[in-house]
Symmetry: C2
Subunit: 367 residues, 2 copies
């Protein structure tokens, strides 16, 4: 694969520092000697790296571990999970923006919401984001590590929102403008990409997963081989308007017929169920089958271990996920893909927590 760029000793050091933090983050409290065994770096190097992290206030010494057996008792250290805080923002709501102050573990400490006027113009929407972030920074009671934002639409890796129809944004350098405004690290990414990061970091750690968000629209975030998939046009995961099946289907807002989003969007399903409550199970199963049809080629092509759904559990939880799983299995090769799971995420506020992971990853190298 293409070599990316030169590596200087300094960068190697920061890589090893990230390795230490990553290990501490996921394994929890441990001694320097444990870290040395875990990472393969020598105790001397670990001591040096840890001293640096302690000086930065990222790591702290907990105390001495009482241990049976010979030898000097180890000093237990850990990430100082409450020493810094992260601002997470979710712009995917239709009527309001959600925000939260989180600790480094991704736990929500304070929540804020700003409602968005109907048909808000781009500047109003931006002003609402700024107001939300300002409130959150005021609510934070520890140094803030950075601001993570999950935005709908297509977002460039530099945090420019190329197009977000719901917010009437196009080519908005949101990350840059928020950075200028608040003078701290800012990361802006697509909402579904943020969500899959949360699942990857806080959920069962598979290295190949797809997370499908089903709400008013449908969008996915993908991780392949432990790497987020971005795409050449930064539009990876935009599967909402893939035509699903060869038998026509409902009319979609985009003008086509049979788009996945037209089949399975939440308001559509709720309307169908309200019109005929008795057929609820059948309606949900039909929608689940359509999801299975759409994702089967993706699961096979990427050899995904797991597909995670995020959306209203009362819609997606029962007949929907069962029908989707069954359809996925009947439409892919037996013996290889028969153990692929479709599950609902256990995470609440998955975009907010994903936005926090973005900051963790960029600032500490942890995810």
């Amino acid at each position: 694969m293409r070599t990316t760029g030169k590596v200087l000793p300094e960068q190697a050091r920061s890589h090893n520092r990230s390795l230490v933090l990553q290990t501490l983050y996921h394994r929890g409290e441990m001694s320097r000697a444990d870290l040395s065994r875990e990472t393969g770096l020598t105790r001397v190097t670990i001591s040096d790296l840890v001293a640096e992290c302690i000086a930065d206030g990222i790591v702290r010494e907990i105390g001495v571990r009482e241990v049976a057996g010979p030898g000097k008792p180890p000093i237990v250290i850990d990430i100082d999970r409450d020493g810094h805080q992260i601002i997470g923002v979710d712009l995917s709501g239709t009527a309001a923006f959600q925000g939260a102050v989180l600790n480094l573990d991704g736990h929500m400490l304070h929540r804020r919401t700003v409602s968005l006027p109907v048909d808000a113009d781009p500047d109003e929407a931006y002003a609402a984001v700024v107001e939300l972030v300002r409130e959150l920074i005021a609510a934070a009671d520890r140094p803030v590590l950075g601001i993570g934002v999950g935005s709908p639409g297509i977002v460039r890796p530099d945090g420019t929102v190329l197009s977000a129809p719901n917010l009437s944004w196009s080519d908005l350098p949101l990350e840059q403008r928020l950075h200028d405004e608040f003078a701290m690290p800012v990361l802006v990414r697509n909402d579904a990409n943020a969500a899959v990061l949360a699942e990857y970091t806080f959920g069962a750690a598979r290295s190949d997963i797809m997370l499908v968000r089903i709400g008013r629209g449908v969008g996915a975030g993908l991780i392949a081989g432990g790497q987020a998939v971005i795409g050449g046009r930064f539009a990876a995961g935009e599967i909402g308007h893939v035509v699903t099946g060869t038998d026509d289907g409902p009319l979609c807002a985009c003008g086509n017929r049979g788009c996945l989003e037209a089949w399975v969007n939440a308001p559509h399903l709720l309307a169908l169920i309200e019109a005929d409550p008795a057929r609820r199970g059948e309606i949900l199963a039909q929608a689940g089958r359509r999801l299975g049809i759409a994702i089967a080629p993706i699961v096979a092509a990427l050899d995904l271990s797991q597909v995670v759904l995020a959306g209203a559990p009362e819609l997606l939880g029962g007949e929907f996920v069962e029908a989707a799983t069954k359809t996925l299995h009947t439409r892919t090769l037996d013996g290889v893909f028969e153990d692929v799971e479709i599950v609902l995420t256990a995470q609440r506020d998955i975009v907010l927590r994903g936005a926090a992971v973005m900051v963790l990853s960029a600032q500490l190298g942890v995810s």
Copy 2:
């Protein structure tokens, strides 16, 4: 993303060495000063790295460039593209195995073939591979950099063929056994993965592509963000038995109906055309549409820039690729995926050349 492992200074050096070779490989002849500007490393470091590569016989000084302008004329250096040779092997044929000796540019210097008895048992098939490699090594007239093998079936990253039904192989540690046999670097990978590497290295350099091989079977190799996609079960690209469409379809060898492979495999298309030559165009267009249906979700999910087809050009070249492209565009979101191309590869012997790239990549860090 998960940090992979510790980085020692020695590894940083080998990374930078690969960067130098990579740059030289793709840009061709240039001076040390050019390399310094291109890579960002200083002239001093470049001189050091280049000296090491020259000592290893990988790089050579070509001569002094005649140049207009002031300053000392540069000494032009380049990869010694004919100083070493690579053995490439393609096991995807049904009646015979193909092999070749290639130079570092991927040009074929000598070809060999061994025919495979019908219903060969696993040991006979393995013996045929050994014989082929032995002949190729004898034919090579420069030091051999390594042996690359593209095998059908599911291949683990360590070169163990987990299952290759056509060859009756299962859990065959082919890479290890060939390494024991020939005492030189050996790389065994899936044939479609090898093919996409060839396309990536020698074709137009997009960083997100899928290559679909259509012959007796259908298989794909994927590169996302410049990284080969492997998959949790090492089965990425196994899209042959994805059911395509919701209107039944032809019976597949696997027992299902409507698999992509059942729709578009070459013998099937040839049989249909022979039965009714007048409908040739219609038959090919129908098959192309099925391919478009199957890959549309994959293109959208990964945001691929290009889908490359490898197979018989007389089948895939005309109506097939046109219908596939049109279907892909009508089934994905307009304005985002409308410029995705489906093209036939310009490469001949793409698996052989991909096998050579595997060796280049492993030994020199070049791809």
